[in-house]
Symmetry: C3
Subunit: 200 residues, 3 copies
């Protein structure tokens, strides 16, 4: 189940990368690389920083297949992205929830402090998009609008609070994922955002 | 003492990151991430390249607290940065000296060649700022003006020359740090810079 | 022989980095860093992702010397780059062939799947240039034109096909390298490129 949702998130992130790259008029190889990096970038950065190498996607070819599928779908449906925007947004939100939990779990497995685990969850969920935007020469979108990463941090905090109650692991995971997904949906629906801070 | 100065440098680098991010009108989360990355980016890159994982800040929460403090101070004093510019510059210069030595030491500890140790010192001191500028979509400032990184290299060379004399370790560290700090102050005061090289 | 070609590729990549940095009017230190990163960036990224640390260039000072040589040559001949363009292009193409094979080999050595090995070959050959372009604040050139990275992937596929025939290792390496070099020369001569994909 969790593994299945991981692939849903991976496909959504792949397609978000491919879409961004195509709008920059890159060639198909460039589109593929940026799609790939968007999907695996956050997890790769996390794995490299905690010393879990070779990094995840190198040891499980299913990621490569899923990303290739997402890339092909992006090319086929590239004229219809406007109509697909809602589905893609839902996929992306599932990815956000699932990737945050995967990052949290990797940190817990090697005994890191909860604060660091939350950082790892946020990195896993958000830095694929950060690397995508750097490669496309934009200031990363998550630094500019929507409370995207902030939700990962809140979700991570909820996770560690609920964990104190010795809940069943599955319930803990499902509750946190649903919390992240619901808050994200509400944030976009009601246009929640953080005020910008300007010097002077 | 050295540990204390490490935090002075970390706070200065945090504030330099926060200031840059605020001037780009990022939201508070974006400001926090860029402040964080500016402070720990150089050390993280060094640790990842020498295989010292999980990277430093994941194992010592004090860095997270100090960065959070620097972030809060940046927000409180954001209207007064002009007046604080001199203090910030002094902090930053202390950071430059201390971070260079930390990088040198990590390289020596795992038996790398002095040339590589100097590279590690320079990476530790300068690449937080490089990553900050990439995330903010600028060409890194250290590539464009001031002899910032060049001073780290000179400091590293001095370190290995003095080391031949079997000086006490503390004296060696203090001398090199002060050298880096003084040269940096002089470089800015007397506007020393390297000429640009242009093809054709 | 292979080691010698590795240095030819390293020098060519160094000079391509130095040239790009000089055209952005960076100072000499900035030029050196970008030249260095262009030469070792792909291999560093590969080593970090497979956990082969400290990364390659830290353990073999010859890389540092070769890069320094390439940097000095770039400065001396910076007014003559137009006339040197053909030689540089040939060097760069040799680098592409050799670096792809080095990446493939590292992946095979630690028992990764051929698909992942091909990814490692492509990363080794292409990501130095990607990091160069990011540091210079451009969208990476390999995502925009020429079938640069695509050739690494084709070369990697040929390598694994030929490997089935139990060829002598030297013949396998030479054949693949020559294939990559010839295809690249033809691609540039006949202006082969991939069509861009645009949404809507």
């Amino acid at each position: 189940m969790f593994y299945f949702l991981d692939f849903v998130g991976t496909i959504a992130f792949t397609m978000s990368g491919a879409l961004t790259a195509m709008s920059k008029k890159l060639d198909p190889f460039g589109v593929f690389i940026i799609a790939f990096v968007t999907a695996v970038g956050g997890g790769t950065l996390r794995d490299v920083m905690i010393g879990r190498t070779p990094v995840g996607w190198m040891l499980d070819l299913n990621y490569v297949y899923v990303i290739f599928l997402g890339f092909v779908l992006s090319i086929i449906f590239r004229k219809k992205f406007d109509r697909l925007r809602t589905s893609l947004f839902l996929f992306d939100t599932v990815g956000l929830g699932v990737f945050t939990l995967i990052g949290l779990e990797k940190g817990i497995n090697i005994g890191l402090h909860p604060v660091i685990c939350i950082a790892l969850g946020t990195i896993t969920a958000c830095f694929g998009g950060v690397i995508r935007d750097i490669l496309c020469n934009d200031i990363p979108v998550i630094f500019r609008r929507e409370i995207y990463a902030t939700i990962c941090i809140l979700g991570g905090m909820l996770f560690f609070m609920l964990r104190e109650f010795n809940l069943d692991k599955d319930i803990l995971y499902i509750t946190t994922s649903i919390f992240i997904i619901v808050i994200r949906l509400m944030a976009v629906k009601f246009k929640w955002y953080l005020p910008t801070l300007e010097p002077k």
